[in-house]
């Protein structure tokens, strides 16, 4: 432990020197940044501010004091609502003023945020620190653009199917033997009419589609930017979602509403696909159901098919508008907290934030049984899924895919169009709206 800290200090010093030089050079070219406080001098600012939301902010709070003890700089964590933080941060990012040094960025937003040019390219520092290979490979794609890297990965959301074992057992359903969606649907039919196997709300078709399409290795956009999701995999997902709906095993309660939580509390919806972090949410909101839950890999499309996919996950970014001194302090903290087995374990154990930093998985903490899951060792299950998650290409037009899928899948669920028509039309809509080609 102490050794790690010592080497960290040395790295910091080296990095500080290197960056100081780079900044001086950059100063010549751009005519100087708004950097009057430290006169462009080498060194890190004393304190920086970091923005985040609920559980994520609280887990940053776990590491700011250890950081101060180890490296001397102070980090003030400010906690916001999620939508609030995004709106506030984006406004200040676009205005070019007012943003904090560090902010939380979800991977799904990454392409659009990076595209604003408002974030700092930290690829040099990442290379200097030699930490790139430590993170799950599939995480980097959306954080990069034209050779630059604009964020450091934080957590991922390897997807599991959480289910109420007690509810299913009382209906003689055993999911431990279920491997495919066919089996999952058949089992679900055993539930009485007022109970549902899964939730499939119309405002979240895209979430499930994305989760399953990614599981099949699908990409929404081709490497050259063309719209690439009008294919067999995508149609297979659409068809499966339609079958789930037609089998009568799906309810449609709006995600994250109080009714939604209540349905899981009462067990009227018996399972839920969610990222590893979902366990923390369920534990916090539905403490009374502790011990009744279990988790499994999400069903595959065919026996032996892939069952690894991702939902959610965040990163930390540095705004380009902050001074070099602040940026350095920010990166130093980010490295300390994100590229560290010790700090990541703390977050995982306390709040269930599932690290993107792979060395953390070696810890025995991932083998411990979870009381909320009746003693099941979910950590290892997710850690096994994590490296197999296929990469996924988010772009600035990801929001268009979301809209197009939701709108066209609504027609599909109503029976107006077939799954393949819905997928084709969604791809066409995205192409029309964005001026992209269809691959």
């Amino acid at each position: 432990m102490t050794g790690e800290r010592g080497s960290h200090d040395r790295r910091t010093v080296l990095k500080g020197l290197g960056v100081g030089g780079a900044a001086a050079l950059a100063g010549c070219i751009t005519g100087g940044r708004d950097d009057t406080t430290d006169g462009g001098d080498v060194g890190m600012a004393d304190g920086v501010t970091a923005w985040s939301w609920d559980v994520a902010a609280e887990s940053l709070d776990l590491t700011d004091e250890p950081y101060e003890e180890a490296n001397g700089g102070s980090v003030t964590v400010e906690q916001f609502g999620r939508a609030d933080m995004k709106d506030k941060y984006k406004s200040q990012l676009l205005a070019g003023e007012g943003a904090p040094a560090i902010a939380t960025m979800e991977s799904v937003d990454a392409a659009a945020w990076v595209d604003t040019n408002g974030l700092r390219d930290i690829s040099g520092w990442i290379d200097d620190a030699g930490i790139k290979d430590g993170f799950v490979a599939g995480k980097w794609g959306p954080l990069e653009k034209d050779g630059g890297t604009y964020a450091l990965p934080w957590d991922i959301g390897p997807v599991g199917t959480f289910y109420r074992k007690d509810v299913l057992e009382s209906n003689e359903i055993d999911l431990t033997t279920v491997e495919t969606w066919d089996q999952f649907i058949e089992e679900g039919k055993k539930l009485p009419d007022d109970q549902y196997m899964i939730n499939l709300p119309s405002n979240d078709y895209d979430g499930l589609w994305r989760m399953l399409y990614r599981m099949l290795g699908g990409q929404p956009f081709a490497e050259d930017g063309a719209v690439a999701f009008d294919n067999d995999e995508s149609v297979a997902v659409a068809r499966t979602l339609k079958r789930v709906r037609d089998a009568g095993i799906a309810n449609d309660v709006a995600s994250w509403s109080s009714a939604w939580f209540n349905a899981f509390k009462e067990g009227s919806i018996a399972s839920l696909n969610g990222g590893a972090w979902m366990e923390g949410t369920l534990k916090a909101e539905l403490g009374g159901t502790a011990g009744k839950w279990r988790v499994m890999k999400p069903p595959a499309f065919s026996k032996g098919g892939p069952r690894a996919t991702n939902w959610g996950g965040s990163n930390l970014v540095i705004a380009d508008q902050v001074s070099d001194a602040k940026a350095q302090r920010a990166f130093d903290y980010m490295q300390f907290t994100l590229a560290s087995k010790e700090q990541q374990l703390k977050m995982y154990q306390e709040y269930g934030i599932f690290p993107a930093y792979e060395p953390a998985y070696q810890s025995e903490a991932f083998d411990e049984g979870h009381d909320f899951l009746g003693g099941q060792g979910a950590g290892r299950l997710f850690a096994d899924i994590a490296p197999e998650i296929p990469p996924y290409r988010y772009t600035v037009d990801t929001p268009e895919v979301t809209k197009a899928i939701n709108e066209n899948f609504s027609s599909m669920m109503a029976g107006d169009v077939s799954p393949s028509e819905a997928v084709s039309q969604a791809a066409q809509d995205v192409a029309d709206r964005t001026g992209r080609d269809i691959a």
């Binding site: 040019n117 408002g118 405002n203 309660v253 994250w256 009714a259 600035v396 268009e400 809209k403």
Partner: protein
Amino acid sequence: MAGSDARTGTPPSTRRQALVDAFRYRRQALTERLPELPGVAYVFLLPFFVLFAVFLLFPILYTIYLSFFTFQGVGGTTVFAIDLGFFYFPVQTISNLEFVGLRNYERLLTDRQFHNAMYNTVFILLFQVPLMITIALGLAVALDASFVRLRGLWRTTLALPISANLVAYATVFVLLMQEQGLVNYALGLVGIGPIPWFTSEFWSRFTIVGAVTWRWTGYNMIILLAGLQNVPQQLYEAAEIDGANRLEKFRYVTLPQLRPVLLFVAVTSTIGTFKLFSEPLIVSDAGAPLSATRTIVQYIYETAFIDFRLGYASALTWVLIAIVSALSVFQIKALGGDDGA
């Protein structure tokens, strides 16, 4: 009440005409010719002009400017600067912009989502505004009746929804209107339902109409009530002497006297509904199909804040402003009558 004309024995049309003439004459006497005092009006308007010039002029001009460009990212160059010595204001592009001329406006013509959002907004407007104004007017008239007791309590209660916090109101509203919620339960008792308030394309729009009406009716009632209370009492007395019944007093005294305030309510409600943002967001979070409930400002927000197409969002905004302003002018000209603007 329909029998009242027969009661007095006068042919209805003549008597009505006499009433109309009488009140129109009094009205004109109140607003005949306005003084033209050089400069005075501008002095009264000065504070507005100053605040407007300092705070809103730049943002407004900036969005006009932006509407001819495509946003290419943050980090701009200074276009020109206002330098007053003590005050230096560099007008930056803020961002890298590519000039595209009228292309943003051209794109509007073929943007299906824009048309769809416009359609949804107008659809909601056509039901919501008349419904709300009718209820608000009815409540205001009821509250203005001389025999009503505890007037302050009624008025306060009816106007409270607008002060309720949006987040809390949204939460409760979704609970009430969900498939197994209280509203459907109540409807079930009389054999209706259950109605999919959120998930159905058809109903979700009416859910928005209902939510907005719930929130804003009391507010408009207060404004109308204040207007009612400015109606000179002797006009009613005169009408009573002329033998007018309740309905006639409402029609020939209340309505014409209230016209300026009614016009205010109509114009501001129309503008308010065109700017509808929170309710559609709540309803779509609760599961409503976006294609049925996305409103124009919601679309502008998505375009600017999620897609970062600031130029296109600006163009959308200016088209919205043009349409709504034209509509407001029309409303004022049409409803404002002889003393229009």
